[in-house]
Amino acid sequence: MTHIDDVQTPMRAVKTVYNLTKLNRAIKSGAKYEVHLVKNSPKLFEKQMLLRNTATGEIIEVPSRLHATRQFGITEYTEAEWELLHQFKRYARERKNTVVWGAYIIPKDVVVGERLQISDPLEDIFLQEFWDTKIYAFEIEATWDGERLVLDRESLRDFVVVG
């Protein structure tokens, strides 16, 4: 029979806030906090092209003229058939461009060494590219060292296996 001590409790959450009202309310309640500037990652820019079919006028958006999909394999969008309208980069993580800082609200009774779950990281961390989409860490675990949160980047490494 499983003993209650054998069942891991879920990690407590670190909440992310983006405005002073919520931050000051948390400070007033005694919560610990960290304020950070939002940090983008240069690895999260996706190259895209807008192409127009010279015969039909149809416009498509693709990452490159030689583009692989599972359904069709390699598809080539030749210059003769598809004229380039624009080439651009798009950032993989959507955020309001007015958001430049945020704060982590940490449980006030956090203990040294406690692992916590940050479900909305202020730093954009590139994980991998899959099907031409750059994927970033939606959440990350962190440890409270007594003064600050130490993000566990190692836990994000295992998204591709080889063997």
Partner: protein, 84 residues
Amino acid sequence: MLVVRDSKIFTEDGQYLKTIHCPKKMAATALERLDHKTLHCQGCKDVVIDTDYLTEAEVIAHIAANADVCLKISRFNPDFRFEK
């Protein structure tokens, strides 16, 4: 759907296919791309099959043809379910 449990790949109905194991512990980022379905491994000078663009049947066929085939598998691949 293929199931990965304890580094072993199974079919949905539980048939064992292969164990994911790299003796050189190569990271996917160290592999050199040959085309959208294959990569080259500098560690063992062999070809690694990139499963990102393979169907489930194609993955099974690769393993059936060579039980020691080396695969690169993304946890974001919807054809694989990773279990602890």
